[in-house]
Amino acid sequence: MVLITLVSSDEQNFPVERELLKQSGTIETLIVNMNLDDEDTDAAAMPIPLPNVKGDVLEKVIQWMEHHKGDPVKEGDNEDNNAEIVVPQWDDDFFKPAMYGSKHLELTVAASYLDIKNLLTLSCKAISNTFKGKTGPQIREEWGVPNEFTPEEEEAIRKENEWSE
């Protein structure tokens, strides 16, 4: 079994089964282009630095890829109608501890950076689900988002939206 070492931004090493990394478009392209999975070359021992992904986030990404090992990998732009996507129970439970926290957003950004389409889609959908039926102030409170708007701006936006009620 070929292991490839990923190095997070905080310099933690994660040896990962090569097969799992096929889910990441970014890493897969790198491995193929650089022959990193060719055990006959010195390049195989070369770790892959991921300076945009922290260790704790990378650990979650790897955990997700392990569970989804063997799943079909989407190709091309992911332009599915996200409204129709259902987050499977395992993934819902996986995202839950991170709900209402920056970790969930970091995981989503990492999925985008690493080009793991299925993780990105499910993670975004899980975040969307937490917003359903909530008001703007409720979402701000739950997610700890500071209010950037002045009272005048907020009132103006409310007026823009009031015809939808």
């Binding site: 409204a83 950004v109 917003f131």
Partner: protein, 147 residues
Amino acid sequence: MVADDSDYSDNEIYDEVWPEDYFASDVEDCSLEALDLNDPSPAELVPIEILRKIVEPLGLRDRCSLSLVNRAFRKAVQASTWHVHRLAITSNEEDVPRNRSVMELSSRGIVLPPFSLQRRNAAHKWSVRDSGIEFLLGHLVNFLLGP
């Protein structure tokens, strides 16, 4: 198998130093100041594509609520696309060629000019519900009839 490295020097391949910009994210061109969430540190940059993916499964009322959260989400809502079955309806012209459905059914791709949510008139009042399609029909009527 031996790699064909005839075009490269040993240093380029084996010095274990990656080019500085190899892993650089290219989000600058399409990024917005993102949710600060629970992190008191300076706001991270989140690509607008991610915010739009979060926005687009939602219906009209939820999108309106999100536009009140912060400026990043407000911009993402304004730039978001509506998917109605195989139709993609968007104010972002760039979205249309990238959309698989529209590419397959090019005659069904509709591009709306940028619009804002405040254009209230009689056409909207009867048409808006939280399903999305009525909202879009309202804007289409507006677009066709003018402001």
